[in-house]
């Protein structure tokens, strides 16, 4: 496979997942505004969520104070925001268009329909669009694309590259969101364990579409340790760090097995190593280590794996 093709498939996966993350952020932001005011108004939560997508500065410099309309514009429509739904779907579709030959017609069709529909939504007056329509649109179409990928793509190296992109992006998004909770939502130690704390953990769960799953898995009581355990170490949770990394390793193994000795495997080796290091921890160790320190380490590992993927496969060995 051409390195450029692999690169586009990898980034198609990442951008689709990133669009999904953006839509879920929007959903959470909407929920916050429907609840009674907290200490600092909504500002704090909105900023935390923007920080989760790494775009707080871009937003502040372009829009200033956060309002529902501005946030919606920014997270969904704004092309100046590289993580907006529109930006991500356009980039994913562009990547897909470049590698048309590596996609089945079902995948291309799903991707192209999402793109055409997005254009239609952009032309619709904003007053006629509610947040739920926008988030449902995004998660629906992204799921359709992903479903088409899993139902129709050959289980070849291209499929593995797409899923490696998905996995790394998802691991990164979950880790960042958790980190934001620790630093921004809860600046003062006396809040720990308070009603506000619990509520904020709920917000995180919602942002990861893991609200109900958590209750099934842990029987209802929300505590920092349980939520962190669910989102970091629970192998059943589809967005937990361990699941995302495990699946990434699985796909990198697939690539390494397919290529045999003809390509380097430093990405696979690094990912295996990171997974082992993660598996050797339990949630108490992570809290002892410090959640923020742990997440910084993890985000660093994801970055390293991504760089190794690039070096091993995406430069073409020239």
């Amino acid at each position: 496979m051409l390195s450029r093709t692999a690169s586009n498939l990898f980034w198609m996966g990442r951008h689709l997942e990133r669009a999904d993350t953006a839509a879920r952020l929007l959903d959470v932001g909407q929920r916050i505004t429907l609840l009674p005011n907290t200490e600092a108004g909504y500002q704090n939560e909105w900023n935390a969520l923007l920080r989760a997508s790494g775009t707080a500065e871009v937003f502040a410099s372009k829009y200033g104070e956060a309002t529902q309309e501005k946030i919606e514009e920014f997270i969904f429509f704004d092309r100046d925001n590289p993580s907006s739904v529109v930006s991500c779907i356009e980039k994913a579709r562009e990547a897909g268009r470049i590698v048309r030959t590596a996609l089945t017609s079902q995948v291309w069709d799903a991707l192209n329909v999402a793109f055409q529909e997005l254009r239609r939504i952009e032309r619709t007056p904003r007053a006629k669009l509610d947040t739920a329509t926008l988030t449902d649109f995004t998660t629906g179409h992204i799921s359709t694309v992903r479903g088409a990928i899993n139902a129709t793509q050959l289980r070849n190296d291209g499929w593995h590259f797409m899923h490696t992109g998905y996995g790394l992006e998802r691991a990164d998004a979950t880790a960042r969101l958790l980190d934001v909770k620790y630093f921004v939502l809860l600046p003062r130690i006396e809040f720990v364990g308070s009603g506000l704390d619990t509520y904020q953990w709920q917000v995180i769960l919602r942002a990861l579409s893991a609200h109900r799953a958590f209750h099934w898995a842990y029987g209802g009581d929300i505590s920092a340790a349980r939520v962190a355990d669910f989102l970091i170490l629970n192998g059943e949770s589809p967005r937990s760090l361990i699941t995302s990394l495990y699946e990434t390793v699985w796909h990198l193994e697939g690539i390494a097995r397919r290529y045999g000795d003809s390509a380097p495997t430093s990405a696979r080796d690094q990912a295996r190593h990171s997974l082992e290091a993660l598996q050797s921890r339990d949630i108490d160790m992570i809290f002892d280590e410090g959640l923020h320190e742990f997440l910084s380490w993890f985000i660093g590992e994801i970055g390293t794996i991504s760089n190794r993927v690039h070096q091993d496969y995406l430069l073409g060995g020239a």
Binding site: M1, S3, R4, R100, T101, N112, D157, Y313, G316, G317
Partner: protein, 469 residues
Amino acid sequence: MTFYNEMLEGDRVRDPYARLSEWVETMPQDFRQMKQAEAEDLFRRIGITFAVYGEGGDPDRLIPFDMMPRVFEQAEWRKLERGIKQRARALNAFLRDVYGRGEIIRAGRIPARLVYRNEAYEKAVVGFVPPRGVYSHIIGVDLVRTAKDEFYVLEDNCRTPSGVSYMLENREIMMRMFPQLFRQNRIEPVDQYPQLLRHTLESVAPQKCDSRPTCVILTPGHYNSAYYEHSFLANLMGVELVEGADLFVDGEFVYMRTTQGPKRVDVIYRRIDDPFLDPLCFRPDSMLGIPGLMDVYRSGGVSICSAPGAGVADDKAIYTFVPEMVRFYLGEEPILNNVQTWTLWKDDDYRYVMDNLPDLVVKEVHGSGGYGMLVGPKSTREEVEIFRKKIEANPSNYIAQPTLSLSTCPTFVEEGVAPRHVDLRPYCLCGDRIELVPGGLTRVALREGSLVVNSSQGGGVKDTWVLSE
């Protein structure tokens, strides 16, 4: 002026159209509108965005698709096929000659100036003979019909003719929407084209290639207006679609960058023009090309289709000599006619053209896509005079032809079915064999009375049928 109507002879429907005519007459209006919308939706979903060679325009534009097919009888097609293959052989013989000893010039049949001082003549490949002596591997011959058995060649596209994806997709969509038509009529298939193209490319593998050749399509990138076609063909042939940056030269060979390291490339079907192939040999500022490619090419390490320099055969000035080539190289009489052409750098021709400007079609020598041309009978006096000034400023930039009475085909229009003018571009493949799939791209001038079929000027496309015996 009278026009040959391909469906009707007076009030009588010609045989090949018999069933189609019935189909149209019994078609309810709302059914037609529904199907038209369905076709457009299909094109949009497939993502066909396309422009015929050099036309430019919005990359996300759809070309109007006319659901009424154009039909050829087997006998009509046979003649066309022989004529096109004959032309293809002559054009390749000509290229081999002018990059070799130049016999046709020594014999005084073609002026040396027109060949050797032609912009498309590549000094860099003089003396090099590509595998099997084939320079132009895909020739798109643009034809118009003026009578039952009278076809004229408008031009030969020897470099990288586009539009073949339309030939294939038009058929695909017609078969999907109207399967019953294909059951009623016995229509020769065209979907073997990608396999034939791949076979053609593999058959011209370079000298140094000793196993099954690796072929690729080289595209200028996804911003190119014909990108859809490039990826479509790559997909149907099962070959990689590469950009310049995916390829590099190392030693004697060209390689592509893959996830498993460098992989050797043997045959490049390029969809970029000569000047952009190799910055070391042609334009030094080209970002599209592969430095060192031409050295590998000339030493037999890679084949390039079409061969660099093939463009000299489809120049509008050279065009007038193609019948001469057929006689000179093949010792045969041309089966297809050339359109009578006046070349304005000749004094006699210049005088004739200037005296008869309102009756003629005048084209730029290097122009394409229906731009920069004058259709005398369709122009106002003012337009003619403006054009006259342009010719006076630079006569050698123009050729003139009589206004041809292009045949018409029945075409869906607002108020039903009406005759509209059409042309035809079949695609001839030249490798170890010369092949022509039975079909081609029919372009139709959708505006009433218009003779310009280019999509940028209100043209559309049709499925083109060849009936089997």
